[in-house]
């Protein structure tokens, strides 16, 4: 499917919105009492956009902690996302959950877990459910190269393959499990080759090339919708910051990080793509950048102005769901 100019520009807006959101979260973490420890996805934004933009509202996503953009594109507002990161009453579930594991069933975001890869088996369940219900919704689950070595991922890929489930396993391979390089934790260079062992397709894509990710996902989504089963999509990417903003040091070679930031920035690359192909003029992009900055500042103001949740009201509620007579 050919993307229209309008769609290309919408995707640009998502891309820079994620970037701006992440940059501001990092900044505010450094100098204000933002509660949540940022695990920034700066450098990896094209994966969220390329994977989630082609989805429908009734499709389901199970993001990793580094899939910030997926939440926004699927329909969670910047304000709620930011208020969540600030631990405010107006954030997800009155501050009961961090923003990077939050959910919203109305737009198909499934609640997450802080256990790396612990959400992958859940995608087997959501896709089993939609299949049993006769719906053609697709589940997309995101996780990193580190998570690939958890047993959950192996069992989930195998079971999804055996049951021919409408699920897409998106590997955000940024080359490091916190500090440990992929070469130390996996003998294979490409993690998508594991798909062959489950009898399903495994695609490898430049995860910082937004259009390439979008195209690979289109094919995977179509397969899943038609009942042809799961696909593994490995997005090669790079994170520009440390694992989290609390890491005391970054063990990655400085020149490697510098090179990636200069030559493999998904925002720069996509801007160049739009400009070089005449899909956009520089002023249009700048105008969009300005509107995004405004949106993020509005979200921050909203978060700052919001009260903290009152423990007398919320601390003890909803441990159990009420049994209806």
């Amino acid at each position: 499917m050919k993307l229209t100019k309008k769609q290309l520009m919408e995707m640009y807006r998502w891309l820079v919105l994620i970037r701006e959101t992440e940059v501001k979260m990092v900044e505010y973490h450094q100098h204000s009492p933002i509660c949540e420890l940022p695990h920034s996805s700066i450098g990896q934004e094209a994966i969220s956009v390329g994977c989630v933009y082609p989805l429908r509202k009734d499709d389901l996503i199970l993001p990793s902690l580094r899939t910030r953009g997926a939440f926004l594109i699927k329909g969670i507002s910047s304000r709620i996302m930011m208020a969540g990161a600030f631990g405010k009453d107006t954030g997800a579930a009155h501050g009961k959950c961090t923003s990077h594991h939050m959910s919203d069933r109305t737009c198909g975001v499934i609640v997450g877990t802080g256990v790396v890869a612990g959400h992958v088996p859940i995608a087997v369940g959501t896709s089993l459910a939609t299949k049993l219900m006769g719906k053609d919704s697709v589940s997309v689950v995101f996780f990193g190269d580190g998570a690939c070595n958890r047993g959950d991922v192996h069992e989930s890929m195998n079971m999804a393959a055996v049951f021919n489930l409408p699920v897409i396993f998106v590997i955000e391979n940024n080359g490091y499990a916190i500090t440990v390089p992929a070469s130390y934790h996996s003998k294979v260079k490409d993690l998508a080759v594991r798909a062959e062992g489950y009898g399903i397709p495994g695609e490898i894509v430049d995860g910082n090339d937004l259009i390439a990710v979008y195209n690979v996902m289109q094919t995977a989504i179509e397969r899943a919708r038609k009942g042809e089963g799961p696909t593994v999509v490995e997005c090669k990417t790079y994170r520009f910051r440390r694992h989290s903003e609390r890491e005391p040091h970054d063990l990655r070679p400085e020149e490697e990080v510098k090179y990636q930031m200069e030559h493999n920035d998904p925002v720069k690359r996509y801007s160049a793509y739009l400009l070089d192909n005449g899909f956009a003029k520089r002023e249009q992009l700048e105008e969009m950048n300005a509107s995004v900055k405004e949106e993020v500042m509005d979200a921050i103001k909203y978060a700052e102005d919001s009260p903290f949740p009152d423990p007398r009201i919320y601390a003890l509620t909803n441990v159990y769901a009420e049994v209806k007579a």
Binding site: A92, A93, H94, K96, C97, H101, M102, S103, D104, R105, I110, V111, T113, G114, V115, G118, H119, V120, P121, I122, A123, V124, G125, T126, S127, L128, A129, T130, L132, M133, G151, D152, E155, S156, N158, M159, A160, V162, Y314, T317, N318, V319, Y320, A321, E322, V323, K324
Partner: protein
């Protein structure tokens, strides 16, 4: 009214719920044509087909994930974990996904999941197929735990568990599958979180569940010979347990023994004792008594395993000790 085994009661409860609600599905290893390792799901595959009685690969992470994820979507899965000893494999999914979803979504995301699992010692199956691990989940808010002691309870509690919007672990004691008992034609549901006083008495209360209920009944009959009048509470739901019934009974008897097959430390009994210490100590005329297994793994050899499992005599001796002023 009919007389059926506990195994049949569970089978019939599953069948009844599956007939009534097509969202109820079964997931597990060898539960299809084979009918399950303990033959609880026999005939259900033929009746409901492979879409609703789903044999999975030997993959507990993915199996429970399939259960939790589909429960998130409004399916009502009943997952069979062959032996309770394997519940360690699904602990992360239960604790970090199933038990937390309702709270972390402020009630938006419920998880109507049932995990059925066979527990308990006495089958000469060794340390990894005989444990009572309900204690592992006593400290996990969001989880419910149920353990029936007879066929009618097994039937009514399972039906309620399937209808409950929360994750429920349903413990089936392996020595109870063959016991027989009446099931009324009304097919009664039995509410969760409510204990039942199954025997009235005035001197002492035994609080127990699962396979220890029958031993408590036998002990109570024997204690009559010593002039000790024993009340018995069958907890039915281990978590959240029914405080009110417990305290009401203590007010009457003033003495209590907590009887469980699990090891002494870390089970349901210590938590109930903690509650009694906090909320009912003024009603007690004697220290809280405990009858439990020793704090060891479950041994294999018959002489060792028989030593491990709490006995009727243990209950009798403890009861006599606590009521020594009486006789």
């Amino acid at each position: 009214m009919k007389i059926i085994t506990l195994r049949e009661a569970i089978n019939q409860a599953l069948m009844r719920e599956m007939e009534e609600d097509d969202k109820v599905i079964l997931l597990g290893e060898d539960i299809g044509l084979h009918g399950g390792a303990m033959q609880v799901t026999v005939n259900l595959f033929n009746k409901f087909g492979a879409d609703r009685v789903i044999d999975t690969p030997l993959s507990e992470y993915a199996l429970i994930g399939a259960g939790i994820g589909s429960a998130f979507m409004g399916i009502k899965p009943v997952v069979e974990i062959m032996f309770t000893d394997f519940i360690t494999l699904i602990a992360d999914q239960l604790i970090n996904n199933a038990a937390k979803a309702c709270y972390t979504t402020e009630g938006e995301q419920t998880c109507p999941l049932v995990v059925r699992t066979m527990y308990g010692a006495g089958s000469r199956s060794g340390p990894h197929h005989s444990q009572s691990l309900e204690g592992l989940f006593m400290g996990i808010p969001g989880i419910k735990m149920v353990a029936p002691s007879n066929p009618a309870d097994a039937y009514g509690l399972l039906r309620s568990a399937i209808r409950d919007p929360n994750p429920v672990i349903y413990f089936e004691h392996k020595r109870l599958y063959g016991i027989r008992g009446p099931l009324s034609d009304n097919e009664d549901l039995i509410p969760l979180e409510k204990a039942k006083v199954i025997r009235e008495g005035s001197d002492l209360t035994l609080i127990t569940y699962g396979a220890m209920v029958q031993k408590s009944i036998d002990a109570a009959k024997e204690l009559e010979n010593y002039g000790i009048s024993v009340e018995i509470i069958d907890l039915r739901t281990i978590k959240p347990f029914d405080k009110e019934t417990i305290i009401t009974s203590l007010k009457k008897t003033g003495r209590v023994i907590l009887v469980q097959e699990a090891c002494k430390q870390g089970g349901a009994s210590p938590e109930i004792a903690a509650m009694i210490s906090e909320e009912g100590i003024e009603y007690l005329d004697a220290p809280i008594g405990f009858v439990s297994a020793p704090d060891t793994p479950v041994p294999f050899s018959p002489t060792l395993e028989d030593y491990f499992i709490p006995k009727i005599e243990d209950i009798i001796e403890t009861a006599k000790y606590l009521t020594v002023s009486k006789y």
